[in-house]
């Protein structure tokens, strides 16, 4: 245990022995993995492997049955969702969840990490600092032109970018993206890969993705999950040639 502890010190995120069981079914079973700072890690695996559940556990949406999640040396399993966000973990959901009733500007503004308490939100002023931050992020996510559009009018791909932007403006250390290119057109995929490359200059990113081409484009390392456990881990080439992975996931 003490060895593990000292080990977790060097990593941005250290997941150890993580287990969650839903009525006896172990969706995630004694899972351990470690993320280096500024790393892009992609989690792949067949449906039901527990990929999304891992993200849910890290961001606090689901409570772990046992195990530990250390982020920057801080135990996350005991924190509430908004406290986890404040420690620097941002989470993007699989289906784009943006605030459709608000404009793109307001979506980003609401995500701006200031005025998070009730009174803070009441006293929140749209000052130059906020406007600059919003405009900067809008440029990164290709939505400068759409700032005053209601989010409902965006395309599927733009909504995905907006949600990524909503994470970026929070300035998290760790970004978790659940299938960011699902349902995107080829051009949108390329732009998203470009976007992720920009993001990873100063963020650690944990991505769930199915598109192997895309995975190959972005990943530093790949973790393959199967039935709640790590099946294989390493570079994309290593993982692709691993017979266990070919057996359960990639197919012959």
């Amino acid at each position: 245990m003490s060895a593990a502890k000292s080990k977790s010190g060097d990593f941005l995120l250290a997941v150890e022995g993580l287990t969650v069981s839903f009525d006896g079914f172990k969706a995630v079973d004694d899972l351990s993995f470690y993320l280096d700072p500024k790393e892009i890690r992609v989690i792949i695996g067949p449906n039901g492997a527990g990929k999304t559940t891992v993200l849910d556990l890290i961001c606090g949406k689901t409570k772990a049955t046992s195990g530990s999640i250390k982020f920057d040396g801080k135990e996350l399993t005991k924190l509430k969702e908004h406290q986890i966000v404040h420690s620097g973990v941002g989470r993007k959901f699989q289906t784009p969840s943006v605030f459709e009733d608000l404009t793109v500007f307001e979506n980003l503004e609401v995500s701006y990490p200031k005025g998070h308490s009730v009174m803070g939100a009441l006293g929140f002023k749209r000052d130059a600092e906020v406007i600059n931050a919003v405009e900067e992020v809008a440029e990164t996510i290709f939505l400068t032109e759409a700032l005053n559009e209601p989010a409902a009018s965006l395309s599927h791909g733009q909504k995905q970018w907006l949600e990524i932007g909503m994470l970026l403006i929070q300035k998290p250390d760790l970004l978790m993206l659940d299938e960011p290119v699902a349902g995107m057109s080829v051009t949108e995929r390329k732009k998203t890969a470009e976007l992720l490359r920009v993001i990873t200059r100063d963020h650690t990113v944990l991505v769930i993705e199915h598109d192997m081409q895309f995975v190959g484009d972005i990943a530093d390392r790949v973790t393959v999950m199967h039935q709640g456990k790590v099946l294989s881990e390493g570079s994309i080439e290593h993982v692709k040639s691993d017979p266990k992975v070919i057996e359960v996931y990639l197919g012959h």
């Binding site: 943006v98 608000l102 404009t103 609401v110 998070h116 939100a121 406007i131 209601p150």
Partner: protein, 402 residues
């Protein structure tokens, strides 16, 4: 911010809607109606306080409370307790076996004023309690429910149960509360007779003033980031949570805000009507309040005021001529709102009347449009927290129907 020219705001479209409401309530109705009818309008307006709270709580944040009568009643009872104590001087109650306590206590063989009545000798305590007691209860309910993530229909049912419990409690504890009759025979407020026509007219204007105060508080909240978070929470609760907000705290806040409005409305009700009874706080009364809000437009605070006025006026009109038909008319109205125009009168107004207004004022608008860009170049960044195409009736976002 708009504070640089507060008067200008009244010339905006939104400002004009407020001016129109003020003219209606402060000038037209008092001129057109006799004191008796005006007093009735005052009574309807006390429900508008609740409806405004429901717009914030239900329309914006998506928290449907079927127990707003509880908060209305608590505010009303606090005021009634003060007035009752003032009316129960030892001289005025000399014929009782225990002079100096309210008459219904004497009838119920109480020989001493209960401890929780004591502070209501003080007018300033009463004013605090009118808001404080409903807010405190709302906080307790909100804390218990929202931190456990109870929401939606479960929350609605629980609030309804609380309305039932409070009614039963008040009726059952006759000696302490006046029972089913409520607290009646209220006479003076700090020595001022509230039963004269003159006093009732003044109270009407006080009520209108308080209503506008609540409208501006609600407007402030909805135009700040807080208001946008409430709307965002309604549609994407998880996204708000994972944007770093403690969703429960925001829900508790808006529920308490709605309770505060309702409490003020209840206190005004007691003053204007002259008594308070459990029939105004129970399940039926609470559901009626939701109907006022729904009919007026659950997304529009101004719509809620009109909703409360119109439904209550219709209720009085119907009840005077066909008392047995009213419940059916009310039911039909509610079904109509839900099926045909989910955004209520405000939604209809926006769809049908506002384009007409646009047409009529088109000629004038040319001048306004010229003035507007000039304003914008002076202030290139949107400093006021509004979108450029701010829509006063439905607010800055489109109705969910579309």
């Amino acid at each position: 911010m708009k504070s640089s020219s507060p008067l200008k705001w009244f010339a905006t479209r939104e400002g004009l809607y407020y001016v129109a409401l003020a003219v209606l309530l402060v000038v037209l109705l008092p001129l057109a109606l006799d004191p008796f009818r005006l007093n009735m309008v005052g009574k309807y307006l006390t429900y508008a306080f609740v409806a405004i709270g429901l717009v914030m709580c239900w329309g914006k944040a998506g928290i449907l409370s079927l127990g707003q009568g509880v908060f209305f009643g608590l505010g009303g009872y606090c005021m009634a307790m003060f007035l009752k104590l003032e009316a129960s001087t030892p001289e005025a109650t000399a014929i009782q076996s225990t002079p100096g306590i309210p008459d219904f206590m004497d009838w119920n063989q109480l020989t001493e004023l209960p401890w929780f009545w004591e502070p209501f000798h003080s007018f300033s305590f009463t004013l605090l309690a009118v808001i404080g007691v409903p807010v405190l209860l709302a906080f307790v309910i909100g804390f218990a429910m929202f931190t456990r993530r109870v929401g939606g229909v479960y929350f609605a049912i629980i609030t309804q149960a609380i309305a039932a419990i409070l009614t039963i409690l008040i009726i059952g504890q006759q000696g302490y509360t006046g029972g089913v009759n409520g607290i009646t025979d209220l006479q003076t407020l700090n020595g001022w007779d509230i039963r004269t026509d003159e006093a009732r007219t003044i109270l009407y204007f006080v009520c209108v003033g308080m209503l506008f105060l609540c409208l501006f508080v609600a407007r402030l909240v909805q135009n700040r980031k807080l208001g946008r978070i409430l709307v965002a929470m309604n549609a994407q609760e998880n996204r708000v949570r994972f944007s770093g907000y403690d969703v429960a705290a925001f829900k508790i806040f808006v529920f308490c805000l709605a309770a505060a409005f309702a409490g003020v409305g209840g206190a005004m009700f007691t003053l204007i009507v002259g008594f308070m009874s459990p029939s105004f706080i129970g399940i039926v009364a609470s559901i009626e309040m939701v109907i006022f809000c729904a009919l007026g437009g659950r997304l529009s605070i101004l719509g809620a005021v009109y909703g409360a006025l119109l439904v209550n006026a219709a209720k009085s009109g119907f009840s005077e001529s066909f008392p047995e038909l009213w419940p059916f008319a009310m039911g039909a109205l509610f079904i109509g709102v839900v099926l045909a125009f989910p955004n209520g009168l405000a939604g209809l107004y926006q769809t049908y009347v506002m384009p007409l207004e646009d047409k009529i004022f088109k000629r004038n608008k040319g001048a306004q449009l010229e003035a507007k860009p000039a304003e914008k170049t002076a202030e290139p960044k949107p400093t006021a927290e509004k979108t450029p195409d701010y829509d006063p009736m439905i607010d800055s976002y489109s109705p969910e129907k579309s």
